[in-house]
Chain length 157, copies 2
């Protein structure tokens, strides 16, 4: 592994440690474009009372702001821990090119985080999940999708 | 299905249609606590240049702000479409009690959204995914988790 990749990961790890001192969870991430860090993120769930403010999501939001674009094609993410399903989803939606990670979801599980449990849940059919999930009014809901399909000037993403 | 559940879903669907007129994606969600809507969300990906601003994530952030708490135990979410992996992860992390949804991930796929693809990716091992995902420096990354474990006054979530 080239030193430059290690340097970016070391910065993500440094952030993950620093964030503990700041009262947050032990997670950090950086987003890199053209060999430079353009955004950093740490876990701010408890600090901001935002359950979605994981390090990767925070870094992605920041990078999108910096580039003024919801599409981060051409960027890589270095995250101190394997992304949870929420963060992995965010990485796909933002079209990041590559993920470098340090700790695994099982390392996270071992210190009390739900990452592995959520992966398990997502992989099983809705009706077998712990979280009750019920479909209602599909005939009404689909009207919005028909409306979307028929719109000519929509911005796709 | 009781009328009250249908009324909450009808509001989520109304938001999903209204959002198309406002230039956003065809998705809406509401969060309900004690029989009342406490937060609403629509897809603001293109409007805010935020790839994480799906309707459910937006509603969850708003609900957490309203309750001043990252833990939304006791709340249900009504979303016009089955949550994507990012939103489903956010729902687990925020400890919502129940999901009601209208359209399915395949309905979303049929109008050009990546939900089903991302589900497929998450379910396969890292080394088989389209998105290159590489572990580096695990020996350094784990230091943050050890530090977290040894911290006495941490706020767990």
């Amino acid at each position: 592994m080239c030193k430059i990749h290690e340097d970016f990961m070391l910065e993500a790890i440094r952030l993950s440690k620093e964030n503990i001192d700041n009262g947050g969870g032990p997670f950090g991430a950086v987003i890199v474009k053209d060999g430079k860090i353009i955004a950093k993120g740490v876990n701010k769930v408890t600090k901001n009372n935002d359950p979605t403010a994981h390090a990767e999501v925070t870094a992605i939001r920041e990078a999108a702001k910096v580039l003024n674009n919801f599409d981060l094609t051409g960027c890589d993410i270095y995250t101190s821990c394997e992304p949870c399903p929420m963060c992995l989803g965010a990485i796909y939606w933002s079209h990041l090119n590559k993920i470098y990670f340090g700790n695994t979801k099982n390392d996270a599980k071992n210190i009390g985080f739900d990452d592995a449990f959520i992966y398990d849940e997502i992989m099983i059919p809705i009706e077998k999940r712990h979280l009750p999930t019920i479909q209602i009014l599909p005939d009404k809901a689909i009207e919005a999708f028909v409306k979307w399909e028929n719109k000519d000037d929509k911005i796709e993403y």
